[in-house]
Symmetry: C2
Amino acid sequence: MCQSDRVTATSPQPRPSVCVLGLGLIGGSLLRALAATGRPAFGYNRSEATVAAAAESGFDVSTDLVATLARAAEQSALIVIATPAPTVTAIVAAVAEHAPRCPLTDVVSVKQPVADAVHAQGLSSNFVGGHPMAGSADSGWAATDPALFDGAVWVVATDDGADPHVWRTVAQLALEVGSRVIPAASDEHDRAVAGISHLPHLTAAVTAVVGAGEGELALRLAAGSFRDGTRVAGTKPSAQRAMLEANDIALLNALSETIDRLTRARDQLRDEGSVEILVDDGHRARKRYEQINASADVPVTDVVIGSHGWEAALRDAARRGGVWTGQTRSANPG
Amino acid sequence: MCQSDRVTATSPQPRPSVCVLGLGLIGGSLLRALAATGRPAFGYNRSEATVAAAAESGFDVSTDLVATLARAAEQSALIVIATPAPTVTAIVAAVAEHAPRCPLTDVVSVKQPVADAVHAQGLSSNFVGGHPMAGSADSGWAATDPALFDGAVWVVATDDGADPHVWRTVAQLALEVGSRVIPAASDEHDRAVAGISHLPHLTAAVTAVVGAGEGELALRLAAGSFRDGTRVAGTKPSAQRAMLEANDIALLNALSETIDRLTRARDQLRDEGSVEILVDDGHRARKRYEQINASADVPVTDVVIGSHGWEAALRDAARRGGVWTGQTRSANPG
C-alpha cells in the first residue's frame, strides 16, 4: 500500500454544544475549560449551592436534570456524565428517557461498569467513554480549575464496535481542553487504573494509619517520604470510596498481589534480615515509570478512524506509546 | 518553686571544630552547612573520587581515617559519624582506638544499634546520637546541599544517663545549621522512624511494582497518586537497604501491621464491596499528620540540661510538641 507523507486534519468535526452533568472537580473544571475555548456549554448539578456558585461565576447551569437533558436533546449536544460512579446508573436512565439520541461520554474513573450501564439502556451506539487522569485531593466547585486538563492524559475508550463519529467527537473534546488522548479498551483501562491510581490510595491510607499509630512524636518526625506517600489519603473519603469500590474486581487483584509481595518481603526481612527483593523490584519499577514518563508522545497518524479494524489498531499503537492528536497521514489515492 | 520569666541562653557552649566521617548526602551537606556558618570543620571519606570532588569545592578532606581521627583527638573535635549503618561498628572501633576522648555523635537513621556499638567500645560517656530527618532520592557528594537541614527536624538522642555537656554540644550543632531539635529516646526514635520513614519505602516499592506490572500503558496513565506515592522507591537500593535493614525489628512490626490492615481491607472489599474502614482510618491519620505538621513548635524552656531527671523531662516535652531551642527560662535563685 502506498501512502503519501501529507498530514492533514481528519474530516472537519462538528463542534456540538456540550452538556456537563455533575459540576464537581472534574465536571466543573471541564465547564470552565470549555468556556475558555469558546465552546457553547451548559451544566447540571443536583446541589443548589453548587449551581448557585457556578451561576455566580457566570456559567449556564441548572438543578433541573430533565430540563437540562431536554435542552441537550434539542441541540444534539454532547452529553458528558461527570457524576460520582454510584450515581451513573440513574443518570444514564435519565439520558435514555430524555435525550436518547445525543452523543454521550463520561469522565468517570472506571470504564467497564459505565459501558455496562449504558448498554443496559440501549445507548451503546451513542456512547464512547472517557477518563481524564487529572485530579487533586480537593473536591467540589470551589476546587475547579480550567487548566486541570492541560497536558493530562485523557483515556478515550476504544472498544470494538465503537461509533467512529462519536469517538472523534469525544477525542476532539479532550484535545480542545489541552489533554493528550490515549485510546484503550474499557477493561484494559480498569485494570491499569486499579494498579496505578486506585491501589495507591490504599497503600497511602495504610502508610498513614501505621505511621500515625506510633503517636504524635512519630508524626512530628515525618519528612518527605511520609508526606508524599500519604498525600492522597487526605482526599475526601466518599470520593475515594466511590472511585475504588466501582472498580472492585480489578482492585481486589491488585490488592492481593500487594499483600503477597509485602508478605514475602516480611519473610525475607525476618529470615535473612534483608529487604533486597522488594527494594530492588520497586527501584526498577519506579525507574521504568520515570523513563516512560520522560519519553515523548508518539502521534498516531496511520490509523483512519472508522476504517476496518481501527479500534484494535489504535489500542495497539497506544500500548507502544502512541497518542491520538487528530492528525491523520492521509492515504494516497494514487 | 518560683521561677523568673527571664529567658537566657544556656551557659556559653564551646564551639569545637567538627570532624565529619562520611561525605555522602548527609555528611557532605553537613560539612557544607558548617562551612557556611564559619565553624571549623574537616572530613573523611574512603572514596578517593568523593574526596577529590569535595577538595575541589574547597573543603578540608582526606581519605586517611587514622590521620583524620588523630587530628580530631588533637583538637578535641566533635566527631560526627555519617557513614552508612552497616559500616558503623568498624568506624566506632577506629574512633575508640584513635580518638577515644572526643565528643561523639552520628547522623545515622537508626539510633539504638549505633548506641549499642558505641557502648561495646566503652565510648558511651562521650556519645549522644542524632538523626536529621532530611534527605532526597539522590545521594553522594554531588547531591549535597548546605541548606538541607534548614527547618528540618533533628532528633537528638536523649537517653537516661546522657552526658549533659555532650548533649548540648550536639544540640548546638543541629541548631547552628538551622534544624529544629527534637529530643527522643533511641528506641522510641527507632520505632517512630520505622513507621514514618522506613515503612513508606516498602509501601512505595510495592505500589511501584504492582502498578508497573500492569504494563507500559498503565505507567503512561499514572498521575499524581502514583508519582508521589512511589517517589522514594527511586532512591538508590543500597542506601535504602542500609537504612531499613539496620532497623529490622521495628520495621518487621510496622510491616506486619501493614499486612494485617491490607488483608482486612481486602476481605471487606471482597465480602461487602467496601473499602470504608481503611479509607476512613487513612483519612483521619493523614489529617492528624497535617494538623500536627501545621502547628507551631513549642520551645522547651523549663528544663535545665543536667538537672535531675532532665532526660525524661525533655522527652516528655517533645511528645507534647516541644522543641529545644537552646533558651532556658532560668530558675530564680531567690
